[in-house]
């Protein structure tokens, strides 16, 4: 009998919790804005103007867009089966290798004309998306599904295992050193220059691919039948089965979507960075996973927000602090955000609490 009333009324809160809640809402926004605002004020008073900061923001946003696309895969998968798919970053790496391999097959060089280049890159992107999503679905089928009722640690360790396996596939494919690839889109070429604020080809590409993809994904998950099945499964898998939802298919589909996003991210990354490495996926994956947690793991918009925030922090830190301190700066931000908002910036209550 009590259960009914407990669920109905909001629990009264102690003043301390209210302060904490307010701080976590507005304090965090202030905290996130502190560094950019400080730099803006400093630059303005020293006569450098706002341009340097805006340039850092542009870079941050385009870097962040790539993290966001990778983070989507972590967050969707975690949202539905509460598993950190450790192999996701390495799967992304295979996407970058696929794209590079196809540059050769399709004969794409810096000399290729614009029309051929667009068509060729589109093929590369579709191929990378196909490879990453197939790999992702296969990994789930082989290494996670059989362990769905096993202790939590079991699928975690098979995920780590697949991470290493994919890295080794990468080494077998293109060796263990970093290598440069043709700068097909002249990624550093300044396309737009508004009073010193420079937007480069690579920035435009990253944003032009990420924004429509994320919007499409959000609409799809919000509206489509299978999108609704994904949300229902994430919230209560057993109830979802009672609704007639095929939970296995729904989970496979989630891995497919995450793979598609990773494949798209892989092609942008390859064109943007023009340096590839078998280990780059592990690093990128760690950053993207951090972005997903920062934004609120399980929350699509949160993953995007987290990606953008990390991209901006990285670029500001690289430029104004020192590149060697950047990881520490990023994680300092993460820790502060987590302490005041454990569910992440846009994260909702957990399944247990919901």
């Amino acid at each position: 009998m009590e259960a009914a009333s407990i669920a109905a009324k909001p629990v009264s809160r102690r003043p301390g919790e209210v302060v904490r809640d307010l701080l976590s809402r507005f304090g965090l926004i202030a905290f996130l804005l502190a560094m950019p605002v400080y730099i803006a004020v400093k630059d303005l008073s020293s006569g450098e103007g706002i341009t340097p900061l805006l340039n850092l923001l542009v870079l941050g946003i385009s870097n962040g867009a790539i993290w966001a696309l990778i983070a989507v895969g972590y967050t969707l998968v975690y949202g539905i089966i509460e598993l950190i798919n450790f192999a996701h970053g390495d799967n992304f790496m295979l996407g970058t290798f696929t794209a590079f391999a196809l540059f050769g097959t399709l004969g794409l060089t810096v000399a290729t004309g614009p029309l051929g280049l667009v068509a060729g890159l589109l093929v590369c992107m579709l191929a990378a998306m196909a490879v990453c999503s197939t790999t992702n679905v296969m990994i789930e089928r082989v290494a996670y599904r059989p362990l769905r009722n096993a202790p939590r640690l079991a699928p975690l360790i098979t995920a780590v295992g697949f991470s290493f396996i994919l890295q080794n596939v990468g080494i077998l494919w293109f060796g263990s050193s970093q290598f440069s690839i043709p700068n097909l889109i002249e990624s550093q070429h300044v396309l737009i220059d508004v009073g010193g604020v420079k937007v480069r080809n690579g920035d435009v590409l990253a944003v032009a691919v990420t924004v429509p993809l994320v919007l499409l994904l959000t609409q799809f998950i919000g509206r489509s039948r299978i999108g609704k099945a994904m949300r229902a499964t994430a919230q209560d898998p057993e109830a979802a089965r009672l609704m007639g939802i095929n939970v296995d298919t729904t989970i496979s589909f989630t891995f497919l979507l995450g793979g598609l996003a990773a494949g798209a991210a892989a092609v942008i990354y390859a064109l943007y960075q023009t340096t590839l490495w078998y280990f780059a996926g592990f690093q990128a994956g760690l950053i993207a996973f951090t972005a997903a947690v920062m934004g609120g793991i399980g929350n699509l918009q949160g993953a995007v927000l987290g990606g953008l925030i990390i991209g901006v922090i990285q670029n500001i830190s690289d430029d104004r602090i020192a590149a060697k301190w950047t990881p520490a700066v990023v994680f300092a931000y993460l820790i502060v955000i987590m302490v005041f908002r454990p569910q992440g910036l846009l994260g909702e209550e957990t399944r247990e609490a919901g």
Binding site: A229, R241, M243, G244
Partner: protein, 234 residues
């Protein structure tokens, strides 16, 4: 032939045998209840029928087909839906979206069924756009039953619809359960608190440690000395 015939099913959780040969039948149009103390195997019986925990031995025939071992979604498709113990509404979906999920397998327009559910539970209509997780236990129970109805089941499984709900709401919910049955849906009803269940049903089974201990008309069960002591608090 009965609508549902459960014949000597044995269901396990790992190595634990939760059902040790349960048999029961439900005729079309009936309300049949399954009572028993905590841990007797009531929920496991319903979970076995729904395909969540398929029995390792025995058979379950529904509407002429053997459904033991059939996937849960195919069992829903055949016409069995369940409002599970503890309600299990989707907390971050709205009331309306929850009802939509109940009709997940149906490709036709289900707006009429939604109206029917809203007629049965006017409270749900008022809360249409509210997130299900923010509602009271009683309202969530109404939603869980309404959601199960959206599948247009021939057989509705209800697991402890009175659990954790204010007594006045329990009366209301039981009125509606009878109404649903009068509108033509066969019901298999699980309860730990047997008063309401025996009132609403025509026949009942008493489950104890994974086996059927008693089976009789509900009136007879209500008079039964053991049942009165164990389940009616008399």
């Amino acid at each position: 032939m009965a609508l549902l015939e459960v014949d000597d099913i044995h269901t396990y959780y790992g190595n634990i045998e939760a059902l040790k040969g349960v048999s029961l039948t439900v005729e079309e149009g009936e309300i049949v209840t399954l009572i028993g103390s905590n841990g007797a195997g009531k929920s496991t019986t319903l979970r076995s029928i729904s395909g969540l925990t398929p029995p390792r031995e025995g058979s379950i025939r529904f509407d002429g087909d053997d459904i033991a071992g059939v996937a849960p979604q195919d069992i829903v498709r055949k016409g069995i839906s369940q409002a599970p113990e503890g309600r299990h509404v989707f907390p971050r979906l709205t009331v309306r979206e929850n009802l939509d999920m109940g009709a997940y397998l149906r490709r036709d327009d289900h707006s009429e069924d939604m109206e029917r559910v809203y007629d049965l539970f006017p409270r749900l209509k008022e809360r249409e756009r509210q997130k299900a997780g923010t509602m009271s236990g009683g309202e969530q129970q109404m939603l869980a039953i309404g959601r199960a109805l959206m599948a247009q089941p021939k057989l509705l499984l209800l697991d402890e619809p009175s659990m954790g709900i204010a007594p006045i709401l329990v009366d209301r919910i039981y009125e509606t359960i009878k109404q649903i049955n009068q509108q033509g849906t066969t019901i298999l009803l699980v309860e730990q608190s047997a008063h309401h269940a025996l009132d609403a049903s025509q026949r009942g089974y008493v489950l104890a440690t994974g086996q059927v201990a008693l089976a009789d008309d509900s009136d007879a069960l209500r008079q039964n000395e053991d049942v009165r002591k164990a389940y009616l608090g008399a």
